[in-house]
Structures are given as C-alpha cells and as structure tokens.
C-alpha cells in the first residue's frame, strides 16, 4: 500500500478505534452506547441550529490547529497556542470596544490586532529559542500562564473598573451576522469561518509554494545545513513562531469578535489551544487535514452537550474519545503495522 493511502487511512483508523474504545467503555459502565451516539449526532447535526454551532466551534479549532501545524512543519512545538489565543482575544476586543470605526473596517482592524498580539506573544519564545537556544515548549507553557494572569489583570483594571469582563464590542466590530444566524436558526455562526478558511489557504501557500516557506521548512528540519546554505536561521525560527502565534491570535478573535463579543476573566484555559494540538496531529499537519479534524472535534464537542440530556451519558465520555483518538494517531506506528499485516495477507 502506498504511503499516501496509509497517511489517509491512519487517522481514519484512529478515529474508528477511539470511538470503538469509547463504546466499550460505555458498555462496561452500563450506559446505552447507541443512545449516546444518537444523542451525539443529534446534538451536532440534528437541527440546522446545531450545525451552525458546530461550524462556530470549528472556526477557532481550525486556526488553533493551523497554528500548531505550522510550527510543527517548521520544526517547532508551539504548546503556547492557548496563551497566544487569549492575548489575541483581548486585543481584538480592546479594538472592538475602544475604537470608533466604520463597520467592516473596524472588524478588520480588530482581527488584525488579534493576529499581531498573538504574533508578539509568540515572538518571545521565538526570540529566546533563536538567541539563547531555550526550548520553546517550556517557554510557551510558562507564557500561557503569564498570558492568563496578565489579560485578567488588564480586563479588571484597564478595560473595566473591577468588573469580570469588558463591555460588549461595538456593533461595527462584530463578526456576527444576522444573515448567518438566520440561515442557521439563531446559531452563533459568524464570518470567522471565512477568515479561518483563508488562513488555511495562506498557510498552505506560504509553506509549500514560497521561498520563505522553503526556508522555514529547511530550518525546521536541519538548522546546520540551512545555516551552511546561507539562510538566516535565527530569523526563520522567530518568524515561524510569529506566524504560528498570529494564527493562534486569530483564533482568539473568533471568540472575542464572534462567539462572545467580549473578553472575560478566566479561571483557567479555554482548552482550544490544546485541542489545536489534537487537530493538527489528526490532520497530519496539512491544510485539508486540519479542516477535517477540526470539523470532527467541533462536532464531537458540540454534540457532547446533548448527551447528558438525551442519553444520560456524561459528556466527559467525548473527552475520553478525543484523547483516545489523539493517542491512536500518536501511536500510528501500531496502526501502520496492522495495515501492513492486513495488506500482506491480502496479497498472499
């Protein structure tokens, strides 16, 4: 079997295996698996409203996934998507609240602000990696917590007076659209999905088609050889982190300008950043893969909300399934071995 086919089969198998183990868990613990999956399906696609909500959920997941995937492809592990997202969220809302601008332009400025904020936040680990060879994983983890506290502080003390959240953004800055809401029976679907899809295209084009992308990939694979070949390794490391951070920041704008319309104090992380790792991984760090994986996880997450009510199954089950899928993709060597065995038997 060709590698290409395998690369497609592996994630599919991982999803199937994840669901399978989820089913076994339900059977063992005495839940009605069929009812659970029915509820899951209904909660994701049973009504147009839910489908709208799924796409809304998918939007930041795509961007977070892109962020992780982009870093991966250029040899970095951006585990700081969460922090960059929060920072981007705040920046977008800040612009949305503080500025008076015509519609569309206001939105655009706010979206750009989020990207810039995420990029700046990611610039720090990029710089430290490039100049001091500090591993980006640890710095980004630390910066996640820093982002959490700093944005909380800004929301409390700068953007509001000791309130737990900012004002609503101005109408002119919103990504929401009554057209899309009407289309999906009042879901919170917003124009962000278009931005996400454009971002997917940009990532693909940048990475695969441009000289810049060539350098980024080259530095990601082999810094020494890239240095020998005359590339500026430090600059490329920083750039790669910055671009990755910009995607993460945009994911924050989806929440700030689309889903919520404000920024609020957070006790913990949104989880979108970590889901981004899952999305990137399941999607094989490729553009189409990321979209499909985000769609799957978005549907699972939104659909899960319906499980306790309709089937009496705790929605944590879906978290388990997602974790298992990530696990199986990570251990895809196991699946590859299995496929090889099957296909060999088939030949003999």
């Amino acid at each position: 079997m060709s590698n290409r086919v395998k690369n497609i089969i592996v994630p599919i198998m991982a999803v199937i295996l994840g669901m399978l183990v989820g089913t076994i868990i339900m059977i063992v613990t005495g839940y009605d698996a069929l009812a659970a999956f029915t509820a899951l399906w209904n909660g994701a696609f049973g009504e147009i409203y839910y489908t709208g909500e799924v796409i809304r959920q998918v939007t930041p997941l795509i961007l977070a996934g892109l962020s992780v995937a982009f870093a991966f492809r250029t040899g970095l592990f951006n585990i700081g998507v969460e922090g960059q997202l929060i920072v981007g969220w705040l920046a977008a809302v800040w612009v949305g609240v503080a500025f008076e601008l015509p519609a569309v332009i206001h939105t655009l400025v706010a979206v750009i602000a989020s990207g810039v904020a995420g990029a700046l936040w990611a610039f720090i680990p990029g710089l430290l990696k490039a100049k001091f060879r500090v591993h980006e994983v640890i710095v980004t983890i630390m910066l996640n917590y820093t982002a959490l506290h700093v944005t909380n502080y800004i929301i409390r003390s700068v953007l509001s007076e000791k309130s737990d959240r900012t004002e609503m953004i101005k109408e002119t800055a919103t990504l929401r659209s009554s057209f899309l809401e009407g289309l999906t029976d009042y879901s919170r679907l917003h124009w962000g999905i278009v931005i996400a899809l454009i971002a997917v295209f940009i990532m693909w084009f940048l990475l695969e088609k441009t000289t810049r992308g060539y350098e980024l990939r080259s530095v990601g694979f082999n810094q020494h050889a890239s240095h020998y070949a005359g590339m500026n390794v430090d600059k490329n490391i920083i750039l790669s982190m910055v671009i990755s951070g910009a995607f993460a920041g945009l994911a924050g704008a989806m929440e700030g300008l689309g889903t919520f319309g404000y920024a609020s104090i957070k006790g913990g992380f949104t989880g979108v950043g970590f889901d981004g790792i899952a999305v990137a991984l399941l999607g094989g760090n490729g553009p189409i893969g990321v979209i499909l994986a985000a769609l799957l996880f978005g549907a699972l997450k939104v659909g899960a909300l319906n499980m306790p009510l309709e089937a009496g199954v705790p929605n944590e089950l879906v978290d388990i399934i997602i974790a298992l899928i990530v696990f199986f993709v990570a251990a895809s060597y196991m699946i590859r071995l299995f496929i090889d065995r099957i296909s060999k038997k088939g030949v003999k």
Binding site: K209, T210, T211, R212, G213, Y214, E215, R217, S218, F221, N222, H224, A225, S226, H227, Y228, A229, G230, M231, N232
Partner: protein, 511 residues
Amino acid sequence: MEYVIEMLGIRKEFPGIVANDNITLQLKQGEIHALLGENGAGKSTLMNVLFGLYQPEQGEIRVRGKAVKITNPNIANDLGIGMVHQHFMLVDKFTVTENIILGKETKSGLKIDLKKAEQEVREISERYGLAVDPQAKIADISVGMQQRVEILKTLYRGAEILIFDEPTAVLTPQEIKELIQIMKTLIKEGKSIILITHKLKEIMEVCDRCTVIRKGVGIGTVNVSETNPNELASLMVGREVTFKTEKADAKPAQSVLEINGLIVKDSRGLTAVNSLNLDVKAGEILGIAGVDGNGQTELIEAISGLRKSESGSIQLNGKEIRNLPPRKITEAGTGHIPQDRHKHGLVLDFPIGENMVLQTYYKTPFSKTGVLNFKQIYQKAKSLIQEFDVRTPSEFTLARALSGGNQQKAIIGREVDRNPDLLIAAQPTRGLDVGAIEFIHKRLIEQRDNGKAVLLLSFELDEILNVSDRIAVIYEGEIVAIVNPKETTEQELGLLMAGSKQKEVGEQTNV
C-alpha cells in the same frame, strides 16, 4: 580446532534489500582477518549479525566449532565476541570508566564502585598498551582515545574475538599507526580479529587473510600474502580499478583566495587559527594536510562565513569576504562540500530534488517574486542526478533514504553545478568506497581543469598526495610548509604534520 568463528551461509534481509546473501566467513585463531567490500556491500550487517544486533534469516554461526544462536549482544559478550563499531558507541557525558563498565558494573552494596572500576580499567589499558585517562569525559578526549575506549570496552568484557568496523576511517595517520600496533599486541595476547576497512594498504600491512563481499554476496577469501592491492580492488568492485589519479599538470593562474594574518578562535575561545597566510590559485588544487584538530575546521568555517574570525583578511577574487554572512560569501563565488554531510550538507527530510537548490532556491528560474517554481527545481535535480550518477529511485525520494556515497555525489553535483570560483572540499571521500572516491576525485580535477580554484582538506595522505597540485601543511593553526606532492613523501609529510622543525622546504617554490 582451527576456526574460532564460522559464519556459514548467512542471509540477512532488510525491507526491500538483501544485505547478506549466503555469506561465509571463517576466522582462524590468532589471525587478523580483513572484511572488504564497497559501501553498502553488507559488511557492517554481517558483523552486526555476529554480534547479535541482527538475527539472520538463514545460516549458521559456530563459535569454536559449536553452533550458537546469538540473539543479543549479551550472548555475544558471553561467547567472547566484542565489537568496535563503525560509529562510536560512547556516551559523551560519561567518563571513560563509566562507558567501559556500563552494563557490567563493579558494585559495592547498591553503589557502583568507581574506584575499583577505574583500577581495573587502568590495569587492562596498561596490559594492552591502550593509554586512556579513566576519569576523563568522552566529550573531552580525542577520537583516537575514544577508539581505545571502545577497544577497552570489549577487553573489559573478556573478549577473545574482536571485530573492528572501519576503525581507521576517523583516525589521523599517527593514530592509525598506533592502532595497528595495538592490534598486533592483541594478537600476541591470543586474540583473533576481524577488521573492516576500505584501505587496501592497511589490509596488506596487518592482515593474514581477507574475505571479500560484493553487493551482499560473498566473493571469496584470499591469503593476503598471495595477493596485491589491485587484485583486492578488482575483486571488490568487480572490475579493474586505477589507483593513481590520472591528471594533467596544473596551470595555475591568478590567486582566487588570498588569506593574510587570519586569526580564528575555536568554540572554547582558544586561538585555533593563528596569523595564517594562504593563497589558492585558479586552476590548481591546494591540499591542506594536517593532523585533525590543528585548526582546519576553524579555517574552513571562517572562510565560508560560519565562524567569525578575529582579525586578518580573506579575499576572494580581490574582494574582502571576511566575516560576511554565509550567503554573501556563497554568492561571491564559493562552493562548499562540508565534512559532515548529514549535519551540514543536506536536509535529510527534504526530497533529493529540493536539496539540489539549497543555496539557489531564491534565484530565477527556481523562484520568482518569492514563489517557488517546482517544475524548474525538479528538472534541474533530474539532470544533476543523471550527470553525477546519483543512485536514487527518483528526484522525489527523501535524501535520508540514499546511501552515504550517493548523498555525497548529490552534494558535489550541487556545488559543482553552481560553478564557483573556489570549491572547498572538506574530507569529500570520508568513508566512501574506491569507486565513489575515484568518481569524486575526477570531478575535483575537472573543476581545476576548468580554471577553478579547489581547496581540499583531507586526513588521508594518499588522497592529498594524489589529488593536490600543492600541499599546505597546517600545524597548530599555522601553515608550516608548502610542498610539492611530486617532490615529497608520506614520511616527510607526516613529520611536518607532527610539527617537526620544517627542514629546507623553503626551496619549494610557489609560496
């Protein structure tokens, strides 16, 4: 009982390749037995089978006449088989002693008894004349000493049969001499040795018998005393090989590279290149001879912009290039075949095609306004692959999947194709077989004949003597002599490299 080891009809397959096909090797008690073959012929594989790292699909191994199954290195150790691997198996951060006792530690209570272990190491090293410092960290000692540690590892485990896999490829001539002495001592102590090497001269010097394999198939075993290098070479390659590189006389023209008073520090901040002067002319190959660690690496890094130099000047075609960024230097007209092809020469995870434009991707026709033109890139790659005989399934194959020799050919193709005024070749044939070496030497000479300057760095005196038009001997960061290869001998070079007072080499003209 004549044979201590018998490997009979060994077959070992890797996915898609038969690395060993029905190979037989018999080792006599007390002999040094050479194993000869081209790159990828299957020598390392055969030895790894003997050492228990791989399991053969077919065949039988007998140790002192008894059939055995060697399923892991522990069993090999118990049978008295020890192996010095082609790539050193040493933990950099550990001390010499820790590396030697690893897996067979001397204990007192729960604790490792390092004192006792060091004592034991000292004893063995004295007995076999293997000078090492038991407390030194591997990272801090020379390659030669590292190899002695590898040998000690096997002796510490009581090995009677030692396998040396290309031990001399990484050594300086002096170290090679020492190693040969050590091997002779070992034989005297009753050990038996299998030696893998590409250097026929070494085989002729120390070996009793030689088994040749070609493309995984055993060709046969010959008594070294009854053969000569030419025969061995043709047995190995399957055709006649010429050793003396054919070349016309050089026609040196203007200086392409001029270095004056160059001072470069190494990573530890010590002066590695010390007020060095050198020039390389168009139409000549200048060879740099020297024992490893005398500033060669730093010199080359300084020329190519990979290391900042302290002072002095480096001029390329009369233009100052010192401390310019690597790209500027490349664009000024240099090409570089790096010492470590995996680390510096290739992006192993790129297709071979994309590797072919590593320095030129941003130029037309490979890209335009920042967008790559893959059609052009792969067309270029395809033609280079053909021209330089790079054996690869296609230009889309990952560079990682190519054998070392073919990776090297790809790099040379890439560098030569850019037609640089100065080509720097650092150990371009390290670890390659004679066929590949011959090919590469031809290409270097071709460059010279096209009126380019070639700077060749090599630790192989043969290579230096054969290929260079002039030889600069480097010692402690200075060029201590410039000699004409036609008028010098290996002995003389060796002495110069060892820092002996330069005798009247001043008379050698073109300084």
